[in-house]
Symmetry: C2
Subunit: 331 residues, 2 copies
Amino acid sequence: MPSIKDVADIAGVSTATVSRVLANKPHVRPQVRERVLAAVESLNYRPNLVARSLRVQKSNKIGLIVADIQNPFFTSVSRAVEDLAYDHELSVFLCNTDENPKKEDIYLDLMQDENVAGVIIAPTRQTASAFTEAIKLDLPMVIIDRRLQGVDIDSVLIDNIDAAYRLTEHLIADGHRRIGAMFGLDSVTGSQRHQGFLKAFKEHDLQPSSDLVIHVNAREDEGYQAAKELLSRAQPPDAILTSNGLLSVGAFRALHESKVAIPDDIGFASFDETGWTTLVNPPITIIEQPTYEIGQAATELLLQRIKNPNRPAREIILKANLVVRGSCAHH
Amino acid sequence: MPSIKDVADIAGVSTATVSRVLANKPHVRPQVRERVLAAVESLNYRPNLVARSLRVQKSNKIGLIVADIQNPFFTSVSRAVEDLAYDHELSVFLCNTDENPKKEDIYLDLMQDENVAGVIIAPTRQTASAFTEAIKLDLPMVIIDRRLQGVDIDSVLIDNIDAAYRLTEHLIADGHRRIGAMFGLDSVTGSQRHQGFLKAFKEHDLQPSSDLVIHVNAREDEGYQAAKELLSRAQPPDAILTSNGLLSVGAFRALHESKVAIPDDIGFASFDETGWTTLVNPPITIIEQPTYEIGQAATELLLQRIKNPNRPAREIILKANLVVRGSCAHH
DNA sequence: AAACATTTTGTAATCGTTTACAATAAAAAT
DNA sequence: ATTTTTATTGTAAACGATTACAAAATGTTT
């Protein structure tokens, strides 16, 4: 690999001049600039990013730390971040915490060690320690998907209360009263969606059957279990609402296996558009999160913060979209 | 951020000694080692990876370049790579080429510029130029999913011919004769699967209806179109076989919309386990690729090559798994 | 006690850039 | 023609680690 020294030698100038040419700095004769460019070309020279990063103490990378790379929500967000970053000549360092705070700590440290320009992160439930420290060291950072209490930091979220409210209200409007619901355990998102759920009941002067509300980890198997349990109740629910994509698959699988008819025996409504919801019969009524927009907004926020580290933190709240299909038809 | 100099000062030693302690090198008095460790602790010191990387000309990162981060095949592979890398204290730089050779070039260059220890890549159809160059510069590399002709390089693939052969044979055994099939265009994988398809017919002394074989880009919309077209034929097929997950969704959506009954009106069989195949009625018979194993094998291969750059290239071929479900029952 | 071997530590060069600062060359003003 | 100003280039010091090599300290042998 040729270095800047080699280029300088061939062009018959100093490394400083080469650097100036490459950075498009002023004060270099057009003639010399030509020579340098020719040398760069002939050697197929590319600046060593590691050396540059060491010298200027920053880089053109941004970090993206997600909780689960297999969750379509995150891949869609990632896609958006990738696209925007690419447009701005940034590269993306994508990491998967697996909902593991220890991994989150490690990756957050790693990001700093790598001199990233900033990071976009979907924090795990438990606020990690490296987290607040990274914030202190003013690493530009924006949070997605989950609000972090207490800290003043750029974030982009969806209006979970409103989304759950609308989904619940839709079930109520379709005549469902005994609504079984499952929400993510220990997650701010989950509890907000629970709030929205309750709000819908309240505003319709109804009482939710609190024994039908289950809090579980956002995993397919737990969704499956929860649905099985709801179905086995003495007085089973007349509809099931799930608060995220993974729970949703699990719950649907349980209903499917139990051969209860949707929507005749039981209504079904869920969060997240995950590809299969329109392939089944009937298609599922869902709340669709604007995943791509979330990624876009997060990247824009991050770019702005990098440019201006002192601006006040901003919180962008996007509305989710209720997509009515056939799974909760009139009861 | 404290540097090794700060640690050295506090411990009252030279930076060389600090480095030796941290690298667990011999020749340092236990007493001194203690002092250094205490200093490290008190300052909360972490070595600067950029500086280290510049000095030793390598790093603990590996690159993973995939064609489409939204394709469950790749996320599952990524997951495996992540897991193994984590166990070996490597971090993973994940990039998405979007099937775009230009992006592939850029990322491949970037990998070298970042001093990665090696890269795992699912190459785009067109062999990119930076590619062969990277190989020349002996960047440790392993290829997944797609064979690259001409070059002698570690790779892990599945036996596509065999897989397609078995899937086709299964359809034939179930009495299907006019099998409509769609294969990925311009892709080695696609053409291998086509070969397997033909082989099954040949070995059963049957003649495939070549007018029912369609080559399209591996995208959902093209799968949808292709299926629609097959259905509208004067003599429509009695079964449809799709050669990858995205085509599969599209084709299924077309069948679903057209209200043809599976398997009574038409059989359906497909590649890739993508989550929805067991949620629909009937569940879909598929070839399941050992995605996690692919990622594992690739990472192991890469680690070995990093350790021993001169060993001869190895090609690992994994068998795919035929999962028989209800979508092609006896015709 | 001197000579030698071995262990422990420090000095300084190095990796490939960027960038203050100094030095030189060219242009403008006197 | 000399001085002053401005534009162009080079020199060398960072950035923060690792690592030959030299030096010092300790231990061993004669």
